[in-house]
Amino acid sequence: MSQTIRIKKGLDIRLVGEAEKVTTSVASKVYAVKPTDFHGVVPKMMVKPGENIKAGAPLFYSKEYPEIKFCSPVSGEIAEIRRGEKRRILEIVILADDKIEYEEFKPSEGSAEEIKEVLLNSGLWPFFKRRPYDVVAWPTDQPVNLFISGFDTEALTADQEFALRGEEKYFQKGLDILGKLINGPVYLGVHEKHNTEEIFRNATGVEIKTFSGPHPSGVVGIQINHVAPVNKGEVSWTIKPLGVVAIGKLFMEGKVDLSRTVAVGGSKINKPQYVKSMYGAQVKNLVVDNIDREDTRLISGGVLTGTQVSEDGFLGFYDNSLAAIPEGNQTEFFGWLLPGLDKLSLSKTFLSWLMPLKPYDLNTNLHGEHRAIVMAGEYDKVFPMDILPEHLIKSFITKDLEKMEQLGVYEVAPEDFALCEFVCTSKLNLQEIVRDSLDLAIEELG
């Protein structure tokens, strides 16, 4: 095995309500596909309300790249197309059949071109994301490599090995397919301590890179930066393990099966556990009565990067975790002056540093107000990339395209800055700043 890549900078945020390793199964009646999961994609509808569709049938395609189709996870009737402001499509709601019928595919794995076509048509293509810009991969890309992170270090996310138990053969098949598709190395990141099972460690046809250290070592962008940083003009792709499994299933069984095991955790969940469910499942069905509803925020995805959802909302395309944490909508008397034994901070300004291993019950309070950037070197402490985070952020804020390019705009994604956003004393919304700037860069730098 190759050398371990040590990530030193970072912070493991331990939260109350880590999902226990028990799995239950739930059925959802209502499912939805959210075009908003796919940043930058303008959906063009291919179905109408009332139509009956099978699982794996395309629902819409991308306006910019019509080859990319987005599929339904279940069979059933299109109940509603929910729109937001300016008639933007938010959710395509599907009433599921009791027994799922699958669209049949006869995938051929002869050449990279054939694989590509199958993936585009089956709606699994969006699992690929591209660096630069962290958007759904473009069909025109010629990626130099592909990265898979085999572990999540973010608070309350799923243990990928546990979530994929029983899917080992599909995962390996998926890797084989990826090896044929990508004209370059496929890297699989594993963690020295977190990855103990064979599914990732014994994977073949990939280059395994071992990491150690705290969050964000599991964030794929950090792994790319340490293994093969993205240069100007190059494209790297990334995919999550559950995407690899879905691709494996498609090529072994000829169907699009987007079922997944979801970690449901957080201090507001009575019994944190794993739930067997499906992409697009309604949150209500994932939590059932296993939740304290008072002042609760539900998040599809990790607590640092996920999307806020309501109980009527749906599980995102890339997510296999759901977190329920308390809302922090209360004021606190002299909160900035108290010793703060229950307050987590990277700095040792609260006495909580006395208990480094205690899990915290953090809420969504901002703990302050927006300010100009004052503290220096704060992002540096939790940003293990060969990039100057503060200066890159400043070039983003000032929309200085030349500086952005020089300082590494091609290498970053919003999620890479999640921990910086967490520690920011000035309470800047860094992920939003990064996302907006990447969008600007797509337009201006191409």
Binding site: F333, L346, S347, A372, G377
Partner: protein, 399 residues
């Protein structure tokens, strides 16, 4: 209390009776209660730290120096008037005397500094930003004990307006606020602030003693063997007034908060441990100061140069400056590499200026102000190095 604030809030909100005073209300409100703002997207949970917490930690780190300064004011007074000569004697009278002297300085500094900030905050329509919490404590600690209050008030106003607000407020300033105030006093009222003469006690004829650095400065033009010089050098010997031990403990005359190395080092430890102050700047400025002191030892052209490097660091405002002022994140270097360079030269120049230009005994003020100006340039080169590395990577990849 909460209900009280909630009751009066509408008066200050848009359209209310005192709409213009919303910043004032907002400041008091957020001072008492951490606001109920929640995250919208992105990272749903946040670090508990905010700027108020950051600033209060710095103020806490200043407390040892402040308390020592209060005691020392009394100590100097009584020693000069011939009472309670021993350090252990007359603790309470000394403290009481010090409180009478120093509390007014703090009150005036905060009253006028914050007052000025309020005027600007109200004009701009935002709540008061926290920067002055620290500046307001630093200013009284780095001035002579007998400074007239009106001078202090003027310098606080000057520092806030010229040092900070014209650049856009907290986080935008180029040079350290407290140093701006001190530099203002230094150049506008040199007779009070030259740093060589110092207040030692209230006497009708306004007699003043000399600071350690002032005494040393006298030796520069003189021959090393002259009797004047030997008498000064004796003061820095083990039994003298300015011995290594006394400089470390701080029972010597000087500005309010600067004399005790011990108290300042406690503050430095707090800053470094909590991660609020940059340990890189503090450590590297010590290295810079020691190195310059060592070089002077080698040259040894006069008695000032002969002073042991550690003793150099303990005297005057060096420690106070590099620990509490050079570490100001806004005006210091922001990159990690830059902080090493910045701190090193701040320390280096402090000692250099102090010895080479006896008219400026407080070299540390000049050195830090100079490095404040240089900090963006240092960072610029660090950033350029990162850019070059990235360009090089492309060339390797495409070659």
């Amino acid at each position: 209390m909460k209900d009280f604030l909630a009751k009066y809030r509408p008066n200050f909100e848009k359209g209310g009776k005192y709409e213009k005073l919303m910043p004032l209300f907002g400041t008091i409100d957020t001072f008492l209660y951490v606001p109920d703002h929640t995250t919208k997207s992105g990272s749903h949970v946040r670090d508990a730290i905010d700027l108020k917490r950051t600033m209060i930690v710095v103020v806490i780190a200043l407390v040892p120096a402040l308390l020592f300064g209060i005691w020392n004011a009394g100590h100097q007074h009584y020693v000069f008037s011939g009472e309670y000569l021993d350090m252990a004697e007359g603790f309470w009278p000394k403290v009481w005397y010090g409180i009478q002297k120093i509390v007014p300085l703090i009150v005036v500094s905060y009253a006028f500094g914050l007052g000025t900030e309020f005027v600007f905050a109200t004009r701009k329509g935002h709540a008061l930003h926290e920067g002055y919490l620290v500046s307001g404590m630093l200013i009284p600690l780095c001035v002579p004990i007998d400074i007239p209050l009106w001078m202090l008030a003027l310098s606080a106003i000057f520092a806030v307006v010229i040092g900070k607000e014209i650049f856009g407020g907290t986080g935008m300033n180029i040079i350290n606020i407290a140093l701006t105030a001190r530099a203002f006093l230094f150049f506008a009222y040199p007779t009070k602030m030259s740093g060589d003469k110092v207040w030692v006690g209230d006497l009708p004829d306004g007699v003043s003693g000399a600071t350690a650095l002032g005494e040393l400065a006298l030796t520069v033009p003189l021959d090393k063997t002259s009797p004047e010089v030997t008498s000064v050098v004796d003061k820095f010997g083990a039994a003298g007034d300015f011995s290594m031990m006394n400089s470390f403990i701080g029972n010597i005359p000087g500005s309010v908060g600067e004399t005790s190395a011990l108290a300042i080092l406690i503050g430095a430890a707090i800053l470094m441990f909590t991660g609020i102050g940059s340990w890189r700047i503090i450590i590297s400025s010590f290295i810079g100061g020691l190195l310059m002191g060592f070089i002077f030892n080698l040259v040894g052209a006069n008695a000032y140069m002969d002073l042991p490097p550690v003793h150099q660091l303990l005297l005057g405002g060096f420690l106070f400056g590099v620990v509490f002022m050079a570490t100001d994140p806004v005006t210091g270097a922001r990159t990690n590499t830059g902080q090493w360079i910045y701190g090193f030269f701040a320390g280096f120049f402090s000692i250099l200026v102090r010895v080479f230009n006896p008219a400026y005994p407080e070299g540390v003020m000049m050195a830090i102000l100079f490095m404040n100006i240089m900090a963006p340039l240092i960072d610029h080169y660090v950033v350029e190095a990162n850019i070059k590395k990235r360009l090089k990577r492309i060339k390797v990849a495409s070659a």
